[in-house]
């Protein structure tokens, strides 16, 4: 039991880092969407720049996890906690990348927005942000119910994505001058939809952490 307190402290530090990384990617999504709304090139560029911070914290969490595995050789629940963290940061890093991708698209989009999109995309974004937040919270708070709720929320984002797609199709049919912009919008929506999917992945890993089952398959 001598090693126990230090393991718990390290696990808590891991949680803190995970929350910090979550906050960073949430901010990245929010900032990229804010840049999209105001068409602020500077803001978009800073999102792309800040993605490095997400990568850095991912590396540091990865190192912490590996050193914990090596030094403490955890079993059962502790092992699952660390492997879950390892899987989670991969998804979070992808979320950060997606936010940066959105920012890159913002740089490309010129001219007026397609009116309806301006409303749907921030809506999707705020849903995706809350999903990312809740997925990390469900890990930190050990809350399986919250994880399930978050997984259920993905349907809302998917529905919004389909709506955006449908509206863009109508738009493309009615006018031919803005077709490239329509594609950019579709991609932004798709990135947001991907972000929501990554949040679902995180939740599924939280499920594994709690139950030892990943997508209803026993792993550990």
């Amino acid at each position: 039991m001598g090693a126990r307190p230090s393991f718990d402290t390290e696990l808590e530090q891991l949680n803190v880092d995970l929350i910090k990384m979550g906050a960073l990617v949430e901010e990245a999504i929010e900032n990229s969407i804010a840049a999209f709304k105001t068409q602020d090139e500077e803001a978009a560029k800073s999102v792309i720049r800040d993605d490095r911070a997400v990568d850095d914290i991912e590396k540091s969490i990865e190192a912490r996890c590996l050193s914990l595995l090596l030094r403490q050789q955890p079993v059962a629940r502790d092992l699952r906690a660390i492997s879950t963290a390892l899987k989670m940061i991969t998804d979070m890093e992808r979320i950060g990348d997606n936010a940066a991708d959105i920012a890159e698209l913002v740089l490309r989009i010129q001219g007026e927005h397609i009116y309806t999109m301006v409303e749907h995309i921030p809506n999707m974004a705020s849903k995706a942000v809350s999903m990312v937040h809740d997925s990390i919270a469900s890990y930190v708070q050990n809350d399986l119910e919250l994880a399930h709720k978050t997984i259920a929320k993905d349907d809302e984002v998917d529905a919004l994505f389909n709506r955006v797609k449908g509206e863009l199709i109508t738009f493309l049919k009615s006018s031919d001058e803005n077709s490239d912009r329509a594609i950019d919008f579709l991609m932004i929506a798709k990135y947001l939809e991907r972000i929501a999917d990554h949040a679902v992945n995180i939740c599924e890993w939280v499920e594994f952490y709690k139950t030892g089952e990943h997508k209803h398959t026993r792993i550990l």
């Binding site: 803190v16 929350i19 906050a23 930190v140």
Partner: protein, 580 residues
């Protein structure tokens, strides 16, 4: 203690018993020996009286005496020490007895007593001798075991007595020690209860003065403790109450960003429902701006102050300051951080609103001024020679000036209303009259579009007439302005017991749903171009709303796009004294 008392008690009893038994045994033994000597002396005297003299059959006499004296040895010894007769042995075989102590004593004093082991019989014997009339010595010897034998004979009785007194002693000692220790046990129990926080312990009266004093001191201490604990508890309650009831959020962190204290407001600002005391700051709020500012405050002692928009749309001002104090001592470093979170949503919003008002007002004022200036310059330059054109420009200048005057009037009115300046003059206003007056004024405008107007019902209240006129005029002129060809405007007044109701309905263009929440904002227009064309300032409904607020009334809006609008104003009949 009970045990110690018991043991000591028993030791004393045992010692007393042993001492008493031995002393009494000695006394007993001594008494018994004297008794035996006296008995034998009496016996020997009796025998001596029967002594027949030397010439008679001494052997038969001594045998007879010995038999009578239960087998005691009886001998007759001549003054020269030779044994003349003996009941137990033949005199001829016995040595000279002249040296014997009892014989010598008897010869010299008449009686002699000695105790020794007989050389003849080899037993412990008690010898008693007397001198007879003829000078011979008559001696009686009886077996005698000495003092110890006497004690031995008494022993069973002594031991029984000792045992009985020991048993009684144990019993009494037990009861006694229990009686002594019982109050102490009670005191201990009382102290236990006090330890558990019950300071109201009552002690029974104790029979010992010393213990009574101790108890009294304990009670005094308990009282002190209790009042100190109460004070502390109240103080803590007070602090908790203040912390949890203040609107500002407060978080205290140690240097490892661990939360030491957090109040309810802070938790509700960040939407946190769990208990996060003792956890890292990120469990409460993961915002990187706060995280960075806290780190900076810790490392460089730099305080920061910034606004933060919360996910629920509230704007908070966050103050982060480094603090030092023993309370937050952690790993020998008493540095921490206090985060204060203050809701500034209304502040920032009203500031924004004011900013908007100024920019809007200046913009609105600039438009007529520009056209006035333009037309005036044209006329001044003398380029326009056509009198009809000149006339037209002049009338436009006048129209724009009027619009400007209207606008300035409206702005003045609104700022007066906002500042809460009350028009002192409050009279009974018949709102029906006021409405009819207004309807007459706007009749030409309405007639141009063939709009029907009617005023139904009547109601009156105590109010400032100008303000009521302004309110009704704005509503009715809006109903006319934003109406359609051949439409109608209906003004309905209802007189209720406490309030009056003014309802203005029209068949106008209506207000789109998304604009309905904003039409009372200053300078807000659903359709800017149209409104300006009609000559509106964008302040009308805002003024209405302000007047309604001043009178503590209510305003409701019902509108369908392209179908019409109806606005209902409810006002109390008596104007409230305080003006909000």
């Amino acid at each position: 203690m009970k045990k110690a008392i018991l043991i000591r008690f028993l030791m004393i009893i045992a010692a007393a018993l042993v001492l008493m038994t031995s002393i009494s045994a000695l006394f007993f033994a001594d008494g018994a020996r004297q008794q035996a000597q006296e008995d034998m002396l009496r016996l020997v005297r009796v025998i001596a009286q029967q002594y027949p003299g030397q010439q008679s059959d001494l052997s038969g006499f001594v045998a007879q005496c010995s038999q009578n004296a239960k087998g005691a040895r009886v001998s007759v010894i001549a003054p020269d020490g030779s044994v003349l007769a003996d009941s137990n042995a033949s005199p001829s075989q016995m040595d000279n007895h002249s040296g014997r102590q009892e014989v010598e004593q008897a010869l010299s004093t008449g009686t002699g007593i000695a105790q020794r082991t007989s050389s003849t019989l080899g037993k412990g014997l008690l010898y008693v001798a007397v001198r007879t009339q003829d000078g011979n010595v008559l001696r009686v010897a009886q077996e005698y075991d000495g003092v110890l034998a006497g004690i031995a004979r008494q022993l069973p009785a002594l031991l029984t007595a000792a045992l009985a007194s020991l048993l009684i002693g144990i019993f009494l000692a037990r009861r006694f020690s229990a009686a002594v220790t019982k109050p102490l046990t009670q005191v201990a129990k009382g102290l236990d209860q006090m330890k558990q926080g019950n300071y109201e312990v009552q002690f029974d009266d104790v029979p010992y003065e010393e213990l009574d004093q101790i108890i009294r001191r304990i009670q005094a201490l308990a009282k002190e403790n209790q009042s100190a604990a109460n004070k502390l508890y109240k103080e803590r309650e007070k602090v908790d109450f203040i912390l949890n009831n203040m609107e500002e959020g407060m978080v205290l962190l140690d240097k490892y960003l661990e939360i030491l204290t957090v109040n309810n407001s802070a938790k509700s600002f960040f939407g946190c429902q769990r208990d996060v005391v003792g956890k890292h700051l990120v469990h409460l709020v993961s915002d990187t701006k706060i995280g960075n500012a806290v780190s900076e405050a810790l490392s460089a002692g730099k305080s920061s102050l910034f606004d933060l928009t919360l996910p629920d749309g509230r704007i908070v001002s966050v103050h982060i300051t480094q603090v030092t104090g023993d309370f937050i001592r952690n790993a020998h470093q008493n540095v921490g951080v206090i985060i204060l979170i203050i809701d500034v949503t209304t502040d920032r919003k009203s500031y924004q609103l004011r900013q908007d008002f100024f920019s809007n007002a200046s913009h609105e004022l600039k438009t007529p001024i520009t056209s006035i200036q333009g037309f005036a310059e044209l006329l001044e330059a003398g380029i326009i020679r056509d009198p009809a054109k000149q006339q037209e420009y002049l009338s436009r200048i006048i129209a724009e000036s009027k619009r400007m005057a209207n606008l300035i009037n409206d702005i003045l009115m609104i700022s007066r209303l906002e500042a809460g300046i009350r028009d002192e003059e409050t009279v009974y206003v018949d709102l029906g009259d006021v409405c009819r007056e207004i309807v007459d004024t706007v009749a030409p405008q309405a007639g141009a579009q063939n709009i029907q107007m009617e005023v139904v019902g009547s109601a009156g209240l105590f109010a400032n007439r100008d303000q009521m006129h302004e309110l009704a005029a704005n509503l009715i002129s809006n109903a006319v302005k934003y109406n359609k060809q051949n439409g109608w405007v209906k003004v309905k007044l209802t007189d209720l017991p406490q309030t009056i109701k003014l309802k203005v309905s029209d068949t106008g263009i209506g207000i789109p749903a998304e604009s309905q929440s904003r039409i009372f904002e200053r300078f807000y227009r659903v359709d800017k171009g149209r409104s300006r064309r009609i000559g509106g300032t964008g302040l009308g409904l805002s003024i209405v709303k302000h007047i309604v607020n001043v009178y503590g009334g209510e305003i409701t809006l019902k509108s369908m796009e392209n179908e019409g609008t109806s606005i209902t104003v409810t006002l109390p009949k008596q104007k409230p004294q305080t003006i909000g």
